[in-house]
Subunit: 165 residues, 2 copies
DNA sequence: TATTGTTATACTCTATAACTATA
DNA sequence: TATAGTTATAGAGTATAACAATA
Protein backbone atom coordinates (compact mmCIF):
# COMPACT_ATOMS: atom_id res chain seq x y z
CA UNK A 1 0.00 0.00 0.00
CA UNK A 2 3.05 2.13 -0.13
CA UNK A 3 1.48 5.00 -1.99
CA UNK A 4 -1.51 5.40 0.32
CA UNK A 5 -1.49 8.86 1.79
CA UNK A 6 -4.11 8.76 4.49
CA UNK A 7 -7.50 7.43 3.43
CA UNK A 8 -7.92 7.79 -0.32
CA UNK A 9 -7.97 5.46 -3.38
CA UNK A 10 -4.21 5.61 -3.95
CA UNK A 11 -2.62 4.53 -7.23
CA UNK A 12 -2.28 0.77 -7.11
CA UNK A 13 0.81 -0.96 -8.42
CA UNK A 14 0.73 -3.30 -11.39
CA UNK A 15 1.96 -6.17 -9.23
CA UNK A 16 -0.97 -5.79 -6.88
CA UNK A 17 -3.56 -5.48 -9.65
CA UNK A 18 -2.24 -8.63 -11.30
CA UNK A 19 -2.24 -10.57 -8.03
CA UNK A 20 -5.73 -9.33 -7.17
CA UNK A 21 -7.32 -9.99 -10.56
CA UNK A 22 -5.37 -13.22 -10.91
CA UNK A 23 -6.72 -14.64 -7.66
CA UNK A 24 -10.21 -13.50 -8.60
CA UNK A 25 -9.99 -15.01 -12.08
CA UNK A 26 -8.61 -18.29 -10.73
CA UNK A 27 -11.42 -18.54 -8.17
CA UNK A 28 -14.08 -17.84 -10.77
CA UNK A 29 -12.56 -20.36 -13.15
CA UNK A 30 -12.64 -22.97 -10.38
CA UNK A 31 -16.34 -22.24 -9.91
CA UNK A 32 -16.99 -22.78 -13.59
CA UNK A 33 -15.09 -26.06 -13.62
CA UNK A 34 -17.28 -27.37 -10.82
CA UNK A 35 -20.00 -27.89 -13.40
CA UNK A 36 -17.72 -30.59 -14.83
CA UNK A 37 -16.91 -31.92 -11.35
CA UNK A 38 -13.29 -30.98 -11.94
CA UNK A 39 -10.76 -28.76 -10.17
CA UNK A 40 -8.23 -26.50 -11.93
CA UNK A 41 -5.25 -28.72 -11.04
CA UNK A 42 -7.12 -31.70 -12.49
CA UNK A 43 -7.77 -29.71 -15.64
CA UNK A 44 -4.09 -28.83 -15.86
CA UNK A 45 -3.11 -32.47 -15.50
CA UNK A 46 -5.48 -33.50 -18.29
CA UNK A 47 -4.04 -30.79 -20.51
CA UNK A 48 -0.48 -31.87 -19.85
CA UNK A 49 -1.22 -35.54 -20.49
CA UNK A 50 -2.84 -34.51 -23.75
CA UNK A 51 0.25 -32.60 -24.79
CA UNK A 52 2.74 -35.27 -23.71
CA UNK A 53 0.82 -38.44 -24.33
CA UNK A 54 2.21 -41.55 -22.64
CA UNK A 55 4.47 -39.74 -20.18
CA UNK A 56 5.29 -41.24 -16.75
CA UNK A 57 4.06 -39.98 -13.39
CA UNK A 58 7.56 -38.90 -12.47
CA UNK A 59 7.88 -36.82 -15.66
CA UNK A 60 4.44 -35.32 -15.17
CA UNK A 61 5.29 -34.33 -11.60
CA UNK A 62 8.49 -32.68 -12.81
CA UNK A 63 6.74 -30.78 -15.60
CA UNK A 64 4.11 -29.41 -13.24
CA UNK A 65 6.53 -28.93 -10.37
CA UNK A 66 4.46 -30.94 -7.92
CA UNK A 67 5.38 -33.70 -5.51
CA UNK A 68 4.92 -37.23 -6.90
CA UNK A 69 3.07 -38.25 -3.75
CA UNK A 70 0.53 -35.53 -4.33
CA UNK A 71 0.13 -36.55 -7.95
CA UNK A 72 -0.68 -40.16 -7.09
CA UNK A 73 -3.92 -39.24 -5.31
CA UNK A 74 -5.05 -36.89 -8.06
CA UNK A 75 -4.40 -39.50 -10.74
CA UNK A 76 -6.33 -42.03 -8.64
CA UNK A 77 -9.35 -39.74 -8.79
CA UNK A 78 -9.04 -39.04 -12.51
CA UNK A 79 -8.67 -42.76 -13.16
CA UNK A 80 -11.70 -43.57 -11.00
CA UNK A 81 -13.64 -40.97 -13.01
CA UNK A 82 -12.60 -42.73 -16.18
CA UNK A 83 -10.77 -39.74 -17.65
CA UNK A 84 -7.25 -41.20 -17.73
CA UNK A 85 -5.69 -44.63 -17.75
CA UNK A 86 -2.37 -45.95 -16.48
CA UNK A 87 -0.94 -48.37 -19.03
CA UNK A 88 1.89 -50.62 -17.96
CA UNK A 89 5.13 -49.76 -19.67
CA UNK A 90 6.32 -52.44 -22.07
CA UNK A 91 9.93 -52.68 -20.96
CA UNK A 92 10.08 -51.07 -17.52
CA UNK A 93 7.47 -52.61 -15.25
CA UNK A 94 7.98 -49.93 -12.57
CA UNK A 95 6.58 -47.11 -14.67
CA UNK A 96 3.13 -46.29 -15.99
CA UNK A 97 2.39 -44.56 -19.28
CA UNK A 98 -0.40 -42.02 -18.79
CA UNK A 99 -3.09 -41.56 -21.42
CA UNK A 100 -6.41 -39.78 -21.79
CA UNK A 101 -9.47 -41.97 -22.32
CA UNK A 102 -12.16 -41.01 -24.84
CA UNK A 103 -14.08 -39.42 -21.98
CA UNK A 104 -10.92 -37.64 -20.90
CA UNK A 105 -10.62 -36.04 -24.35
CA UNK A 106 -14.27 -35.00 -24.21
CA UNK A 107 -13.68 -33.46 -20.77
CA UNK A 108 -10.72 -31.53 -22.14
CA UNK A 109 -12.87 -30.10 -24.93
CA UNK A 110 -15.50 -29.10 -22.40
CA UNK A 111 -12.79 -27.37 -20.37
CA UNK A 112 -11.82 -25.50 -23.52
CA UNK A 113 -15.36 -24.23 -24.00
CA UNK A 114 -15.52 -23.11 -20.37
CA UNK A 115 -12.14 -21.40 -20.71
CA UNK A 116 -13.41 -19.38 -23.66
CA UNK A 117 -16.52 -18.31 -21.75
CA UNK A 118 -14.30 -17.40 -18.83
CA UNK A 119 -11.94 -15.39 -21.02
CA UNK A 120 -14.90 -13.43 -22.35
CA UNK A 121 -16.16 -12.70 -18.85
CA UNK A 122 -12.78 -11.65 -17.46
CA UNK A 123 -12.07 -9.35 -20.41
CA UNK A 124 -15.57 -7.88 -20.65
CA UNK A 125 -14.25 -4.39 -19.93
CA UNK A 126 -11.94 -4.38 -22.96
CA UNK A 127 -12.42 -4.42 -26.72
CA UNK A 128 -10.64 -6.84 -29.01
CA UNK A 129 -7.74 -4.52 -29.74
CA UNK A 130 -7.16 -3.83 -26.05
CA UNK A 131 -7.24 -7.53 -25.23
CA UNK A 132 -4.47 -8.16 -27.72
CA UNK A 133 -2.38 -5.37 -26.26
CA UNK A 134 -2.94 -6.76 -22.78
CA UNK A 135 -2.05 -10.30 -23.84
CA UNK A 136 1.11 -8.99 -25.46
CA UNK A 137 2.25 -7.06 -22.38
CA UNK A 138 1.47 -9.96 -20.04
CA UNK A 139 3.24 -12.45 -22.30
CA UNK A 140 6.38 -10.37 -22.17
CA UNK A 141 6.25 -10.26 -18.38
CA UNK A 142 5.65 -14.01 -18.21
CA UNK A 143 8.62 -14.63 -20.45
CA UNK A 144 10.93 -12.27 -18.61
CA UNK A 145 9.90 -13.86 -15.29
CA UNK A 146 10.68 -17.24 -16.82
CA UNK A 147 7.26 -18.74 -16.19
CA UNK A 148 6.69 -21.99 -18.02
CA UNK A 149 4.02 -21.48 -20.71
CA UNK A 150 0.77 -23.09 -19.62
CA UNK A 151 2.02 -24.13 -16.18
CA UNK A 152 0.41 -22.43 -13.21
CA UNK A 153 2.69 -21.88 -10.17
CA UNK A 154 -0.14 -23.20 -8.01
CA UNK A 155 1.27 -26.67 -8.46
CA UNK A 156 4.64 -25.65 -7.16
CA UNK A 157 5.83 -26.02 -3.66
CA UNK A 158 7.17 -22.72 -2.33
CA UNK A 159 8.83 -22.20 1.03
CA UNK A 160 5.95 -20.28 2.58
CA UNK A 161 2.49 -20.04 1.11
CA UNK A 162 1.15 -16.51 0.81
CA UNK A 163 -1.52 -14.60 -1.00
CA UNK A 164 -3.14 -11.40 0.06
CA UNK A 165 -2.22 -7.72 0.09
CA UNK B 1 -5.76 -25.26 -22.53
CA UNK B 2 -8.63 -24.87 -24.92
CA UNK B 3 -6.66 -23.60 -27.88
CA UNK B 4 -3.98 -26.28 -27.78
CA UNK B 5 -3.94 -28.17 -31.04
CA UNK B 6 -1.72 -31.13 -30.39
CA UNK B 7 1.63 -30.32 -28.83
CA UNK B 8 2.58 -26.73 -29.60
CA UNK B 9 2.86 -23.44 -27.64
CA UNK B 10 -0.77 -22.45 -28.23
CA UNK B 11 -1.98 -18.89 -27.72
CA UNK B 12 -2.67 -18.46 -24.03
CA UNK B 13 -5.75 -16.60 -22.84
CA UNK B 14 -5.53 -13.38 -20.89
CA UNK B 15 -7.29 -14.99 -17.94
CA UNK B 16 -4.64 -17.64 -17.70
CA UNK B 17 -1.71 -15.24 -18.04
CA UNK B 18 -3.15 -13.06 -15.28
CA UNK B 19 -3.73 -16.02 -12.97
CA UNK B 20 -0.26 -17.38 -13.68
CA UNK B 21 1.63 -14.13 -13.27
CA UNK B 22 -0.56 -13.14 -10.33
CA UNK B 23 0.23 -16.29 -8.38
CA UNK B 24 3.90 -15.87 -9.22
CA UNK B 25 3.94 -12.22 -8.18
CA UNK B 26 2.08 -12.97 -4.93
CA UNK B 27 4.52 -15.75 -4.05
CA UNK B 28 7.53 -13.56 -4.74
CA UNK B 29 6.06 -10.71 -2.75
CA UNK B 30 5.53 -13.09 0.18
CA UNK B 31 9.20 -14.03 -0.04
CA UNK B 32 10.23 -10.39 0.11
CA UNK B 33 8.02 -9.73 3.13
CA UNK B 34 9.71 -12.54 5.01
CA UNK B 35 12.66 -10.21 5.53
CA UNK B 36 10.29 -8.19 7.74
CA UNK B 37 8.94 -11.34 9.40
CA UNK B 38 5.53 -10.52 7.97
CA UNK B 39 3.05 -12.32 5.72
CA UNK B 40 1.00 -10.64 2.95
CA UNK B 41 -2.27 -10.89 4.92
CA UNK B 42 -0.57 -9.24 7.87
CA UNK B 43 0.63 -6.47 5.59
CA UNK B 44 -2.88 -6.01 4.27
CA UNK B 45 -4.26 -5.77 7.80
CA UNK B 46 -1.70 -3.12 8.72
CA UNK B 47 -2.59 -1.16 5.61
CA UNK B 48 -6.29 -1.30 6.32
CA UNK B 49 -5.88 -0.24 9.95
CA UNK B 50 -3.78 2.66 8.71
CA UNK B 51 -6.50 3.73 6.32
CA UNK B 52 -9.37 3.28 8.78
CA UNK B 53 -7.74 4.17 12.05
CA UNK B 54 -9.63 3.08 15.16
CA UNK B 55 -11.95 0.63 13.44
CA UNK B 56 -13.30 -2.45 15.25
CA UNK B 57 -12.34 -6.05 14.60
CA UNK B 58 -15.80 -6.76 13.24
CA UNK B 59 -15.54 -3.89 10.76
CA UNK B 60 -12.05 -4.94 9.72
CA UNK B 61 -13.21 -8.50 9.13
CA UNK B 62 -16.07 -7.21 6.97
CA UNK B 63 -13.80 -4.92 4.95
CA UNK B 64 -11.34 -7.70 4.20
CA UNK B 65 -14.02 -10.34 3.82
CA UNK B 66 -12.46 -12.66 6.36
CA UNK B 67 -13.94 -14.57 9.28
CA UNK B 68 -13.67 -12.76 12.64
CA UNK B 69 -12.31 -15.89 14.27
CA UNK B 70 -9.46 -15.97 11.78
CA UNK B 71 -8.75 -12.31 12.36
CA UNK B 72 -8.40 -12.71 16.12
CA UNK B 73 -5.32 -14.92 15.84
CA UNK B 74 -3.67 -12.65 13.29
CA UNK B 75 -4.26 -9.60 15.44
CA UNK B 76 -2.85 -11.48 18.42
CA UNK B 77 0.38 -11.97 16.51
CA UNK B 78 0.57 -8.38 15.31
CA UNK B 79 -0.08 -7.19 18.85
CA UNK B 80 2.56 -9.51 20.27
CA UNK B 81 4.99 -8.10 17.70
CA UNK B 82 4.13 -4.62 18.91
CA UNK B 83 2.81 -3.40 15.56
CA UNK B 84 -0.80 -2.78 16.56
CA UNK B 85 -2.70 -2.10 19.73
CA UNK B 86 -6.27 -2.83 20.84
CA UNK B 87 -7.62 0.14 22.73
CA UNK B 88 -10.76 -0.31 24.73
CA UNK B 89 -13.69 1.57 23.29
CA UNK B 90 -14.86 4.46 25.49
CA UNK B 91 -18.58 3.75 25.49
CA UNK B 92 -18.94 0.13 24.35
CA UNK B 93 -16.74 -2.13 26.42
CA UNK B 94 -17.31 -5.09 24.10
CA UNK B 95 -15.43 -3.57 21.18
CA UNK B 96 -11.80 -2.73 20.58
CA UNK B 97 -10.51 0.20 18.54
CA UNK B 98 -7.54 -0.91 16.42
CA UNK B 99 -4.53 1.37 15.98
CA UNK B 100 -1.03 1.13 14.57
CA UNK B 101 1.83 1.66 17.00
CA UNK B 102 4.87 3.72 16.08
CA UNK B 103 6.60 0.48 15.10
CA UNK B 104 3.54 -0.48 13.11
CA UNK B 105 3.82 2.68 11.06
CA UNK B 106 7.50 2.04 10.49
CA UNK B 107 6.70 -1.49 9.35
CA UNK B 108 4.14 -0.11 6.92
CA UNK B 109 6.73 2.21 5.42
CA UNK B 110 9.13 -0.69 5.07
CA UNK B 111 6.40 -2.65 3.30
CA UNK B 112 5.99 0.29 0.95
CA UNK B 113 9.66 0.24 0.07
CA UNK B 114 9.52 -3.51 -0.56
CA UNK B 115 6.40 -3.07 -2.68
CA UNK B 116 8.21 -0.57 -4.90
CA UNK B 117 11.17 -2.91 -5.36
CA UNK B 118 8.74 -5.70 -6.15
CA UNK B 119 6.88 -3.56 -8.67
CA UNK B 120 10.15 -2.81 -10.41
CA UNK B 121 11.06 -6.51 -10.55
CA UNK B 122 7.66 -7.64 -11.84
CA UNK B 123 7.55 -4.96 -14.54
CA UNK B 124 11.18 -5.30 -15.58
CA UNK B 125 10.16 -6.34 -19.10
CA UNK B 126 8.22 -3.12 -19.74
CA UNK B 127 9.14 0.55 -20.11
CA UNK B 128 7.39 3.31 -18.20
CA UNK B 129 4.85 4.02 -20.91
CA UNK B 130 3.92 0.35 -21.22
CA UNK B 131 3.53 0.04 -17.46
CA UNK B 132 1.02 2.84 -17.45
CA UNK B 133 -0.94 1.26 -20.28
CA UNK B 134 -0.93 -2.06 -18.43
CA UNK B 135 -2.04 -0.44 -15.17
CA UNK B 136 -4.86 1.29 -17.00
CA UNK B 137 -6.13 -1.87 -18.69
CA UNK B 138 -5.93 -3.87 -15.46
CA UNK B 139 -7.68 -1.14 -13.48
CA UNK B 140 -10.59 -1.23 -15.89
CA UNK B 141 -10.88 -5.00 -15.52
CA UNK B 142 -10.72 -4.72 -11.73
CA UNK B 143 -13.45 -2.12 -11.75
CA UNK B 144 -15.70 -4.03 -14.12
CA UNK B 145 -15.23 -7.18 -12.03
CA UNK B 146 -16.17 -5.15 -8.96
CA UNK B 147 -13.01 -5.91 -7.02
CA UNK B 148 -12.55 -3.74 -3.97
CA UNK B 149 -9.55 -1.43 -4.48
CA UNK B 150 -6.66 -2.63 -2.40
CA UNK B 151 -8.37 -5.78 -1.10
CA UNK B 152 -6.96 -9.06 -2.23
CA UNK B 153 -9.50 -11.90 -2.67
CA UNK B 154 -7.08 -14.13 -0.79
CA UNK B 155 -8.75 -13.08 2.43
CA UNK B 156 -12.16 -14.19 1.22
CA UNK B 157 -13.67 -17.50 1.93
CA UNK B 158 -14.82 -19.07 -1.32
CA UNK B 159 -16.81 -22.30 -1.63
CA UNK B 160 -13.95 -24.34 -3.02
CA UNK B 161 -10.34 -23.28 -3.10
CA UNK B 162 -8.70 -23.56 -6.49
CA UNK B 163 -5.68 -22.39 -8.34
CA UNK B 164 -3.85 -24.16 -11.10
CA UNK B 165 -4.70 -25.13 -14.70
C1' DT C 1 22.40 -49.38 -5.31
C1' DA C 2 19.09 -46.33 -7.70
C1' DT C 3 14.47 -45.38 -9.32
C1' DT C 4 9.15 -45.59 -9.83
C1' DG C 5 5.25 -45.38 -7.64
C1' DT C 6 2.74 -45.82 -3.16
C1' DT C 7 1.43 -45.37 1.64
C1' DA C 8 1.55 -43.19 6.19
C1' DT C 9 2.25 -39.45 9.15
C1' DA C 10 2.42 -34.91 10.69
C1' DC C 11 1.68 -30.21 10.13
C1' DT C 12 -0.59 -26.01 8.64
C1' DC C 13 -4.50 -23.49 7.60
C1' DT C 14 -9.05 -22.16 8.27
C1' DA C 15 -14.23 -22.77 8.53
C1' DT C 16 -17.71 -23.88 11.97
C1' DA C 17 -19.77 -23.66 16.08
C1' DA C 18 -19.88 -23.06 20.98
C1' DC C 19 -18.89 -19.79 24.52
C1' DT C 20 -18.18 -15.08 27.48
C1' DA C 21 -18.98 -10.57 28.36
C1' DT C 22 -21.17 -6.82 27.47
C1' DA C 23 -25.09 -4.18 25.58
C1' DT D 1 -32.18 -10.87 22.81
C1' DA D 2 -28.55 -9.40 20.15
C1' DT D 3 -23.66 -8.24 19.31
C1' DA D 4 -18.15 -8.15 19.82
C1' DG D 5 -14.75 -10.86 20.52
C1' DT D 6 -12.74 -15.37 21.82
C1' DT D 7 -11.85 -20.29 22.17
C1' DA D 8 -12.21 -25.10 20.60
C1' DT D 9 -12.83 -28.50 17.32
C1' DA D 10 -12.78 -30.67 13.07
C1' DG D 11 -11.78 -30.99 8.32
C1' DA D 12 -9.14 -30.15 4.06
C1' DG D 13 -4.83 -29.90 1.82
C1' DT D 14 -0.16 -31.11 1.36
C1' DA D 15 4.91 -31.74 2.47
C1' DT D 16 7.93 -35.28 4.44
C1' DA D 17 9.59 -39.53 5.00
C1' DA D 18 9.31 -44.47 5.02
C1' DC D 19 8.19 -48.32 2.06
C1' DA D 20 7.65 -52.11 -1.76
C1' DA D 21 8.65 -53.50 -6.29
C1' DT D 22 11.59 -53.36 -10.04
C1' DA D 23 15.68 -52.10 -12.51
Amino acid sequence: MSEARSSQPARLGVHFLIAQIGAHAAAKFAERLETLHLTPPQGGILGMINRKDGLSQQTLADLLGMFPSRLVLMLDELQASGLIERRTHTTDRRTYALHLTANGKKALQAIGRIARQHEEAVCAALNENERQILASLLSRIAEEQQLRPGVHPGYRRLEKRGEGQ
